[in-house]
């Protein structure tokens, strides 16, 4: 197989379900209806922190058409964590289906299932609640202070996670200079265009089926079976099409409630959040306050770096430990520096729940680090690209904590290639035209490839051949439109010598597909495409056995090419896969089928470097990103068109993180920008000219050398843009997002 020219891997291919999407034929969860289906609505808390003193549901229950009203009084009181990933996952369980205390504006108070949405909405308004308000705290640093309102028993500090290499104190003391910064990043929302939605059915056999656009059917099954005390065999979770997720659909947000309502009523129940509810009550990216200290020498060598971050995890623990833990590791993967420390403290506040979001800690950590280092390089009078080239890890680099190799890290190639494409060296660093100031900036970033090292990282798959030589794949992958399943078919097609078009896929259903850890941590390519490769190789072996018998040639002599089993010595000796499969059925009375489990053997890292040019209107404070280059080290692009697509979308999200997004709370803790009108994600007219380049130097354990792109793609974006704005104005911005008011204020202070 080695040195063979690749036929399908490396092709630009539309995603498998594109034709269904452009015609409106693809069924998303909100498009599904069941006979006698009920409609559900949730009542959310209008106050940030309160004990429910009295709750009266009698009027709602008396409303004709209402079939169930559920509150903390009549729901199972079993603690859980909505971000649980596997059966014995030990993370703080602070959530209940419903509780007698509400902890943020948008917390669940009650839910109703009724014959129509109109009735459900009316019933929600008839529920009478008396709140005994408690003191609330919205700022994570305030929440850590003594005497701060306690949100969960035991205090607001969820944990302190520390990881380090070398001797940071000593290295800082010996460095020529030490720089310190405090940098803050906001909570942002995923803004998948599809809001959260779920349907649950419960039948007379006691079987519960939940349909929801989610990234983790198998984990949702664990959570639902736990809170409803049902055997897992009686709980099925199915993922119909996902209308965008970005981590926001990784945690079981509304599904347990919808499942409960179906079980209570014995009827199918559908709940669809509206946009306001999705922004306020689901999940956000963790906001954070970073304290960074760097020791550098006169020649620009970064000798030590110390991070302390306070992360706002919101009202419940959910991903607090997972995100803090993941974040802590990332900064050890990029520079040659031997002395580094990362201390993360996730903290409860009475704000919307922070959870998983694209990048899982990396966007925050690298925003802070790269904004800080841009200032450090300026202070040293050193070009930021030169600073990067001096300090970034080389391909044989190691993680200083364990002396373990990074794999084949190529951040240097990304920077070199990007600087050239962007004309970094020859482009003016700043330009001024009347009220408009232009500047350029860059940043690097990295992200992982799965969960290796943290916990199990497994994908299982089944692949079977049909009589005509086509195939059917059973995959637990939750494709979010990013094309993971399409990539799986390319990998399988390559191994079996069949067109990926001829591989049909059954996807993410706890009762139809084998176990998969879930689609997060950028596992899709590195782990799941590897599982696809493994199962294809297993099927290939069986095909070759049959073909050898049929053609009467030794197995070693055979190859699979273009739908044929063919002798490499005598090309005249060949049989169609149809003949081979039918031979297996007819002569040996067997099915050609493979089932394999793949466990990730390594934790490798993906890298990227982004370059941006911005123009700042010094009268309005508005920033326009004019020009953009993004370069990513992806090992090998299985489907380059969709790798580009990931990066282009990630830049939209990254520029938003830098300039326009960020949840805003009023003094009572209510999110004020709770609509698309007020929550400003970038429109087409606000996007820059963009060039995307790939570094494809191969990553040995990856399938055909491939590694992840989905999350890494957004990591360098925000700091590249912020650095460009800082450089344009000669002001060091340290708080995101750079909304016009913030920029105007800084210009005034500068004057």
């Amino acid at each position: 197989m080695k040195n063979k020219k690749l036929v399908y891997v490396g092709n630009n291919r539309p995603i498998r379900d594109a034709a269904l999407k452009v015609t409106g034929q693809l069924q998303y969860t909100a498009d599904m209806k069941f006979p006698h289906m009920l409609y559900a609505k949730m009542l959310f808390s209008p106050v940030a922190h309160a004990k429910i003193k009295k709750i009266d549901t009698s009027k709602a229950e008396a409303l004709p058409g209402v079939k169930a009203v559920v509150t903390y009084k009549n729901s199972p009181r079993i603690p859980y964590n909505s971000s649980m990933r596997f059966y014995e996952h030990k993370i703080p369980e602070t959530e209940y289906l419903f509780d007698d205390t509400v902890r943020f504006v948008g917390d669940r108070v009650a839910a109703v299932a009724a014959e129509s949405l109109e009735i459900a909405e009316k019933a929600i308004r008839l529920i009478e609640v008396e709140y005994e308000e408690l003191p609330a705290v919205f700022d994570p640093e305030e929440a850590l202070k003594e005497g701060a309102p306690e949100i969960h028993p035991g205090g607001n500090k969820v944990a302190e996670i520390k990881t380090e290499a070398g001797n940071v104190e000593e290295a800082l003391a010996q460095a020529d200079y030490v720089f310190e910064d405090r940098i803050t990043v906001p909570a942002i929302h995923h803004c998948a265009i599809e809001t959260h939605v779920a349907i649950a059915t419960y039948d007379s056999r006691g079987k519960l089926t939940v349909y929801s656009p989610n990234q983790n059917t198998f984990a949702f099954r664990i959570i639902i079976s736990k809170v409803l005390e049902m055997p897992m065999s009686k709980v099925r979770v199915v993922r119909p099409a996902i209308g965008g997720a970005f981590g926001g659909k990784l945690e079981a947000v509304i599904e347990p409630v919808v499942a409960l309502l179906a079980k209570m009523t014995g009827r199918p129940v559908k709940m669809e959040l509206n946009r306001r509810e999705s922004i306020v009550s689901t999940r956000t990216r963790h906001a954070g306050v970073f304290y960074i200290k760097s020791g550098v020498n006169k020649d620009g060598t970064l000798v030590a770096q110390d991070f302390r971050v306070i992360l706002n995890t919101g009202a419940y623990a959910t991903s607090a430990l997972n995100v803090s833990g993941a974040m802590s590791h990332k900064v050890f993967k990029v520079y040659k520096t031997k002395h580094m420390r990362f201390t993360a403290t996730p903290v409860y506040t009475n704000t919307p729940i922070a959870g998983a979001m694209r990048g899982y800690g990396s966007p925050q950590a690298f925003a802070a680090q790269q904004i800080h280092l841009n200032r450090v390089a300026k202070a040293l009078n050193m070009d930021f690209v030169d600073f990067q080239l001096k300090n970034l890890v080389e391909p044989d680099g190691v993680d200083p904590r364990f002396n373990s190799p990074h794999g084949n890290p190529r951040p240097l190639d990304c920077v070199t290639k990007g600087a050239e494409a962007f004309n970094w060296a020859s482009r003016p660093k700043t330009e001024e035209q009347g009220r408009f100031k232009r500047g350029i900036g860059m940043a690097i970033g990295s992200h992982g490839n799965g969960c290796f090292g943290a916990h199990r990282d497994v994908t299982a798959m089944v692949l079977k051949m049909n009589e005509d030589g086509t195939a059917t794949l059973f995959t637990g992958t939750h494709d979010m439109g990013n094309g993971t399943v399409t990539a799986e078919t390319q990998v399988i097609g390559e191994i079996l010598g069949i067109d990926p078009e001829n591989i049909e896929c059954i996807e993410a259903d706890t009762e139809a597909t084998p176990w998969n850890l879930g689609d997060y941590a950028s596992r899709g390519v590195f782990v799941s495409c590897n599982a696809a490769k493994k199962v294809a190789e297993s099927v290939r072996r069986e095909i070759l056995k049959e073909a050898a018998q049929l053609l009467e040639v030794p197995v070693e002599e055979l190859d699979l090419v273009g739908g044929y089993a063919v002798s490499t010595k005598d090309p005249e000796k060949k049989a169609t896969l149809c003949d081979v499969i039918v031979h297996g059925q007819r002569v040996n009375q067997r099915e050609i089928i493979g089932a394999e489990t793949f466990a990730s053997p390594a934790g490798v890292t993906s890298y990227g470097a982004h370059f941006a040019e911005v123009e700042v209107d010094t009268e309005t404070g508005k920033v326009k990103v004019l020009d953009y280059v993004a370069v990513h080290d992806v090992g090998k692009a299985i489907n380059p068109m969709y790798v580009e697509g990931q990066i282009e979308g990630a830049v939209q999200m990254g520029i938003g993180y830098a300039l326009t997004e960020g949840l805003e709370l009023d003094e009572k803790g209510k999110v004020t920008n709770n609509s698309f009108k007020k929550y400003h994600m970038l429109k087409a007219s606000e996007m820059p000219r963009m060039q995307v380049l790939l570094v494809e130097e191969g990553e040995e354990p990856g399938p055909f050398g491939a590694k992840s792109i989905g999350e890494c793609s957004t990591v360098p974006s925000a700091p590249a843009v912020v650095n460009a704005v800082s450089n344009a104005l000669g002001i060091d911005f340290k708080d995101l997002p750079l909304k016009p008011e913030r920029i105007l204020k800084a210009i005034q202070v500068q004057k």
Binding site: C191, A192, M641, G649, A684
Partner: protein, 157 residues
Amino acid sequence: MQLIKLLINGKEYEVAVKKNWTLLYVLREVLDFTGTKCGCNTNDCGACKVLIDGEAVNSCVVLAHKAEGKNIITIEGIAEGSKLHPIQEAFIETGAVQCGFCTPGMIITTKALLDQNPSPSRDEIVQALDNNLCRCTGYVKIVEAIELAAKRLRGEA
């Protein structure tokens, strides 16, 4: 309830509606035209766009009874049977489709644009997309798709 007639994709539907029902609600919940998506219900995202007398309009802010007597085209009415429209083909080929939730609205906007302006500039394309949000693509390949579709519809590619 009021009985109205809606002309959708060339066919007339008689449907009983309440005064406050939007066209989006009637399309999705009453007539099962679920290709039209709901992303915000506040006129901000464009996922629910349909053509009304040739204009791309957010159906979440049009009352159903006000659409009586108008020519309504939904995403289901863009292809001719199983033959895809060149705009749809261009979206597929350029990789402009990711999660697909904004795609029907994007295609409706494109149809209205290209019917009125067969040779739009890049600026005119991004202006036309001003009321269509996408979180997956950064709009890059969507703009490419529209350029390709325009070229093909002009017979140049």
